[in-house]
Homo-oligomer: 221 residues x 2
Amino acid sequence: MSDKYVHGYHPRENERLHDQAGTLVDLLHSDTKYARGSSVLEAGCGVGAQTVTLAQRSPDARFMSVDVSADSIAEARRRADRAGLTNVEFRRADIFALPFNAEAFDHVFVCFVLEHLSRPLEALAVLKRLLRAGGTITVIEGDHGSTYFHPDSLEAHAAIQCQVMLQREAGGNALIGRQLYPLLVEAGFDAVRVIPRMVYVDSSRPDLVDGFTRKTFTAMI
Amino acid sequence: MSDKYVHGYHPRENERLHDQAGTLVDLLHSDTKYARGSSVLEAGCGVGAQTVTLAQRSPDARFMSVDVSADSIAEARRRADRAGLTNVEFRRADIFALPFNAEAFDHVFVCFVLEHLSRPLEALAVLKRLLRAGGTITVIEGDHGSTYFHPDSLEAHAAIQCQVMLQREAGGNALIGRQLYPLLVEAGFDAVRVIPRMVYVDSSRPDLVDGFTRKTFTAMI
């Protein structure tokens, strides 16, 4: 992850990342569960927004969660401690220079990370080498270009487009969600299966209006 | 449905509607099942693309399937006969002048119909009066504005926009999917729940590349 991480490292942003993770947790993580004794690399754990969920849902797996930012790792460690997790080890490391042996992990987990990299394909190739034969990778990414509204709003689309451009200028790609299949195939993974997840919000779901539309998406844009 | 039904009544279009129904059948209908003995009004059955699926999935329910087009009803009846259905009655009728008593049905089913009406809210109010207290309505509609691609294609978006405009000129609304919640609430339905369904296609799913991208969506546009 470059110094130009588009969301920045502000405490209020950390709060937003946790609101996002809390609201979307079932949608994103309900089918991620790792077997007893398996070893999982979480690449780009940031402030640990997903780490706590992951590790709680698979209490008998061992997690190695890395991030390029020392501050984020420190924050993630505090959150994991507060949650009483004992199955996560944190380490500061660059995704392109990870201090692990080939085939060291049973599984790799990546969430909202590739969108911030200028070389997502290389990152996937690096991660693939760390996976044992028969291991799995789970990649979760967004796609801001998939957003639509009723009533429609040119202003909202324009604001989102600004975010897309800013992220592109920072070397990332806010539209990477739609590209996961070809990226994973090109990185050499087989049996690639993409399962789209749509966040749908209307006023019958006030928790999502608040947790997603206001505190996650609008706050990010 | 007006005379300006945007998809037309050409035989090749009937084929496309059946390709569409076949490809999307699980996505759209897997959770629609009616109890033994219940009476269901299918409003706007067209050439019966959904009728056969519906009636087969709920063999002990009785269906009344109506459409404004006599030709479509004739075609739907042929298809139902070929499928050996005995629980469907077809009748030609305008959705705004349905020949049924108030509260005559336990359930109403509407699929890809409101998008073609200039007064979808009125249609829903009409249908609501035909439902007994405690009955349900299932409404399935698309939203062409939700389409996106990788690689992205300005030409594809422009072509879709033409379809959106043509449908609007014919009095319809190709973006009605996103509007179902407020429409249903305004029509007086309670406990409205919208469940978004995304058709996702990549080259690991050749049946969908052919059945949906080519034969359904591209063929329609």
